[in-house]
């Protein structure tokens, strides 16, 4: 055994080069070799694309037309004056708000229940996360049928409490809550798992101390659990807002491309319609930039609120 080590000791001969590089230089070269594939792909598909998107948005660029006149800010002016755009923004904000509140509440309640010392904890956790794994394609087909006004099972269940059949996907006022219900069903599993991890990080002694002081279960939830979960709640709502604001598949599949009429057009449906149905690339690029700005503002506002609140 010692013999083997002795044999290895003479050191790495294979690095002998005709000229010598300092260790520092070698590390720099190695670093850039390691980074190269990432930087190449990132530059082409992200940096170039982002800059190009802003550039395209200044042109009246239509896919099927040979000329692309420069129009300055016209696309943005048109966008600003388009009622359909603002309606889509409104739908998206409404959908995002109820979906994020819904998934957060259901996820939190499920996490609290599942972290009680109940039997079958692991089983419930695995079961309740199933929908989150499904594709929007599959959940789209399922919920389009469940919500059907004619033969839908949701209406069947409601009929037992005396509710007359409702045309969920045909009523402009009901389609967004209906899509939101489907989305809450689909996506509460992620907040649930994040909340479970958050709850497990709260020291058990705090609850014991509260109990000795005579606190009820609800009181310890409000005065111990919720304040200590604040960072988790903020993570869940921030990721939820970013994710759900980009909703596309649910209106595309469940309510037939954003129907009835344009009642469930979201900003991404609007982008899709402009760029890939009307083939208006320049206008579409302006839409994409606008969406990016809105989302950056929302995220920034959330981060500011977070940092303020955490300071106490």
């Amino acid at each position: 055994m010692f013999g083997i080590i002795k044999q290895k000791l003479p050191g790495p001969k294979r690095f002998t080069l005709p000229f010598s590089l300092s260790l520092k230089t070698r590390e720099v070269i190695a670093a850039y070799i390691f980074l190269a594939p990432f930087l190449i792909f990132f530059s082409i598909f992200f940096v170039r694309a982002t800059i190009s998107s802003v550039n395209i948005s200044f042109y009246d660029w239509r896919l099927l037309r040979p000329t692309r006149p420069y129009v300055g800010l016209d696309n943005y002016v048109d966008l600003f004056e388009d009622e359909i755009w603002w309606a889509s923004v409104g739908h998206t904000v409404y959908f995002t708000a109820i979906t994020v509140v819904g998934t957060t509440l259901v996820g939190l309640a499920a996490a609290v229940a599942v972290t009680r010392p109940v039997r079958g904890q692991g089983f419930f956790r695995v079961l309740l996360y199933i929908p989150q794994l499904m594709s929007v394609g599959a959940i789209g087909l399922i919920w389009n049928w469940l919500l059907s006004g004619q033969f839908g099972v949701i209406n069947y269940i409601l009929s037992f409490v005396g509710v007359r059949p409702i045309n969920w996907l045909g009523e402009p006022d009901l389609v967004l809550p209906a899509l939101s219900l489907a989305t809450i069903w689909w996506t509460f599993g992620f907040p649930m798992l994040i909340f479970i991890a958050g709850l497990q990080g709260i020291p058990e002694q705090l609850y014991e101390a509260a109990k000795i002081d005579g606190a009820s279960g609800w009181q310890s939830f409000v005065y111990i659990t919720l304040p200590l979960l604040r960072p988790t709640i903020l993570f869940v709502t921030v990721t939820g807002v970013i994710g759900h604001f980009q909703v596309f598949g649910q209106p595309y599949i469940i309510s037939g491309g954003g129907g009835p009429g344009r009642a469930s057009w979201t900003v991404i449906i609007y982008l899709y319609q402009q760029a890939w149905v009307a083939f208006r690339m320049g206008y579409g690029a302006a839409v994409a930039v606008a969406i990016a700005i809105i989302m950056a503002v929302i995220t920034a506002v959330q981060f500011v609120t977070i940092s303020r609140r955490v300071e106490y």
Binding site: Q246, M281, A292
Partner: protein, 281 residues
């Protein structure tokens, strides 16, 4: 037995809630599976039937043989593209994460801060220029379009960098004494000690791609090159009014592969969500 102390009694509220929530989760799935075995007449009935009187495979037969429905092909495309994408992400992001975590080079901090800022910019801005690039490269309707544009996954770099930094420095120093170069240290020390992070990232990147809808809609156009979610949306729009059991059968068949993955990697997926913060929408 003392009823007051048994957990069943003390946590009755939690049990009732969990059972109700499980019912809410399972109900749509059970209805879908059950009605996928019905005939078209039986599905289109009020009040709806929950259990098929005479289970039939008509819907499944139709979804696999219909001229304009190529479920087998879509499934193959989805699996192949998702696997290729996952491999590309790992191959591209892991070395970059290693450089950021362990190597000293000019621009390390600046570059990393720049990547942090870009995470604030939503991917939608890149859609139109990347789509135009795919057209120029004639990559529309090819796997290249589904695999490469998203392969430089910034989040993957962050995540792996975080884990690589936790690998004890001494282990790498030991490898240096054994004569390992940068690649040797990366390959023989860092990667084997980060398998948890690598699998978690791999699983979520795979699932995310398998379930993606928007990008495949715009970069595929022929029936043979569609992916599963796009294919399902096509069945929905062309057959919703005509043949519901077939649509439900499509939903069931497209979900089975995911459930198989879930059963196998169940623990890793559940742990992976909290490990990585991935796995949401």
């Amino acid at each position: 037995m003392n009823l007051r102390n048994s957990s069943l009694f003390r946590y009755a509220g939690a049990y009732i809630f969990l059972i109700a929530l499980s019912a809410f989760v399972l109900f749509p799935l059970v209805i879908t599976v059950s009605q996928s075995f019905m005939t078209n007449q039986e599905v289109n009935r009020w009040p709806p039937k929950i259990i098929p009187t005479e289970p039939t495979l008509e819907g499944y037969h139709a979804v696999l043989t219909q001229q304009d429905v190529r479920l087998d092909m879509w499934l193959r495309n989805s699996l192949f593209a998702a696997a290729g994408y996952t491999a590309a992400v790992l191959v591209i992001c892991a070395p970059a994460a290693y450089a950021f975590a362990r190597l000293r080079f000019p621009g390390n901090k600046v570059l990393f801060a720049f990547l942090l800022v870009t995470i604030m910019i939503p991917g939608q801005v890149t859609l139109i220029p990347n789509y135009l690039l795919m057209r120029d490269l004639s990559w529309i309707d090819t796997f290249n379009a589904l695999i490469f544009p998203g392969a430089a996954n910034v989040f993957g770099v962050f995540l792996l960098r975080q884990f690589f930094m936790q690998v004890p420095q001494e282990l790498e120093e030991a490898a240096i004494l054994d004569g390992a170069g940068y690649f040797g240290r990366f390959w023989h020390v860092i990667l084997p000690l980060s398998t948890n992070a690598l699998t978690a990232l791999g699983i979520f990147v795979f699932l995310g791609h398998y379930n993606d809808l928007f990008w495949p809609i715009i970069v595929t156009s022929s029936l043979e090159t569609r992916t599963l979610p796009v294919g399902l949306s096509i069945i929905q729009s062309s057959y919703a009014g005509q043949y519901r059991p077939m649509i439900l059968a499509g939903a069931v068949l497209s979900t089975v592969p995911i459930l198989i993955v879930y059963v196998i990697f169940q623990r890793r997926i559940i742990q992976g969500v909290t490990l990585t913060g991935m796995g949401g929408r």
